[in-house]
């Protein structure tokens, strides 16, 4: 469904995605791991067209994605949940959900069923929400596009554990019950691994490890090398 081949991308002259290749199929869910600043978010931004692609190709459902204008990517089936959530602050919760909605199985009702809190606060403005609610809203907003692929950028970051758990359940439901394809960027490695099928580890803008999640969960020391604080050499 999505294929990246030797992509070099970045902001202006700065290169943050450095020769990155990966493939994913429909129905698959991938955890994108790696330390801060290795280019995980930038990879999602690249898929959404917000970086400058210097070289390489990105194909999406058989079409060359680099040439697709940014606004058409949502219609093409990409749903993005930005890291900073980027809720439209002068729109109400409900407007945030409906303003860009596309027809499909996800509608207001099913979103409210997934996140009952949003229904309670549907008249509130984006900037009046707590962090967790904003996160739910950002996910809900992306789901309302009925995307073939959902890109989640650190959805659990900075949330209280209770809320994070609630979100995890929701994400799990999407994957297990709805068969939603998604890429999950996450700092909380273990949780991410429990949720998704496959994991990819990024280091300095390139893929350095690629494995099925259960395998990795059984062998965390591999992860320690790429994700942990300790460094391989003394």
């Amino acid at each position: 469904m999505l294929t990246l081949e030797h992509v070099y991308a970045g902001y202006g002259e700065a290169i943050v995605i450095d020769d990155c290749s990966l493939t994913m199929d429909e129905g698959e869910s991938i955890a994108l791991l790696g330390r801060n600043g290795v280019g995980k978010s930038s990879l999602l931004l690249t898929v959404m067209g917000h970086t400058k692609v210097h070289r390489g190709s990105i194909r999406w459902c058989g079409q060359d994605l680099v040439k697709v204008p940014q606004h058409a990517r949502a219609r093409a089936g990409l749903g993005w949940v930005p890291q900073e959530r980027e809720i439209f602050k002068s729109l109400t919760v409900e407007e945030n959900l409906t303003v860009t909605a596309l027809p499909g199985k996800w509608d207001l009702k099913s979103i409210y069923a997934l996140f009952p809190r949003l229904q309670e606060r549907r008249r509130n403005f984006g900037n009046q929400l707590s962090g967790g609610e904003q996160q739910m809203l950002a996910i809900g907003r992306a789901l309302m596009l009925n995307p073939k692929l959902l890109l989640l950028d650190e959805p659990l970051e900075g949330l209280a554990p209770v809320i994070a758990d609630e979100l995890c359940v929701a994400i799990q439901r999407m994957i297990r019950n709805e068969g939603q394809s998604l890429i999950l960027v996450e700092q909380h490695v273990e949780q991410a691994l429990c949720l998704t099928h496959r994991a990819i580890v990024l280091e300095r803008g390139r893929v350095v490890h690629n494995a099925q999640c259960p395998d990795l969960l059984g062998n965390l020391s591999v992860l320690e090398k790429w994700v942990g604080v300790r460094v391989a050499h003394p």
């Binding site: 650190e154 970051e157 490695v189 991410a192 300095r204």
Partner: protein
């Protein structure tokens, strides 16, 4: 205490949002100190309070034994506190030579007489220009010092970031992700330069690249949610379970 740079109970809140919580940072002279932490931990806000762009809600910042909390940013530079930026913050239409010479002239402004400062061409300050050139040479920028900055390769621009900070002759240097955005091939030059920085300069390094942090720093502070989680030597930090939790997620 003979710390060169110190914060005392530094606290900063934007409205209800607390971004810096009782931070007590202390750099010994000649220190190689790294500041790490997940995204949104408040590292940039902390830097901005150190350089004076933001004023803390409470607490104080001390440089070389003097309270500089209420001193404007440019005066802090004059007193020896200098920084680099995570995203290149340069003078695109100045040549590196002009940019560094400018920095040195600003530093020496009180020693230049008014004629030299105001009415004679820059080229009259030949000793200062020589110093600028020497510095550029030291940072491998001499070859490119006469073209406009915006035409330089990205890695070279990162080096110029460093050159501008060094040209102020800092006592304390704040390096904000010096390797950010530098592609693999160009980063060696940068690390080399970092390792040759003179020992008299104390350095506070903010960096995500753990290779760099653990190779470079003798002390590390981990910042989480605006709070100092732990400070220690690299090996202490690597073994600290709380740090592992922050970086690897819970359940470890």
């Amino acid at each position: 205490m003979n710390a060169i740079l110190q914060t005392r109970d530094l606290w900063k809140a934007f409205g209800g949002l607390i971004v810096t919580k009782d931070v007590n940072l202390s750099l010994a002279p000649g220190a190689r100190h790294a500041l790490i932490g997940p995204n949104g931990a408040g590292k940039t806000t902390l830097i901005n309070q150190l350089t004076g762009v933001l004023r803390p809600s409470s607490g104080s910042v001390w440089l070389d034994g003097a309270d500089i909390t209420r001193i404007p940013p440019n005066e802090r530079v004059y007193r020896g506190l200098s920084r680099t930026f995570q995203i290149n913050t340069l003078f695109p239409r100045l040549t590196p030579l002009e940019a560094v010479t400018n920095t040195i002239c600003v530093r020496e402004r009180k020693r230049l007489n008014i004629l030299k400062r105001r009415f004679f061409g820059v080229s009259r300050c030949s000793t200062l220009i020589d110093e600028a050139y020497a510095l550029l040479e030291q940072l491998n920028l001499a070859q490119d010092c006469l073209v406009e900055t915006h035409t330089l390769a990205y890695g070279k621009q990162r080096l110029l970031e460093m050159a501008l900070a060094l040209a102020t002759r800092p006592k304390v240097l704040l390096l904000d992700e010096p390797a950010a955005g530098v592609p693999e091939g160009e980063s060696d030059e940068l690390f080399e330069v970092l390792n040759t920085l003179p020992k008299e300069i104390s350095i506070l390094l903010i960096e995500h690249d753990m290779n760099l942090v653990f190779n470079f720093a003798d002390r590390i502070t981990v910042l989480v949610n605006g709070e100092e989680l732990v400070t220690g030597t690299p090996s202490e930090i690597a073994d600290d379970p709380r740090v592992r939790e922050v970086y690897l997620g819970k359940g470890h």
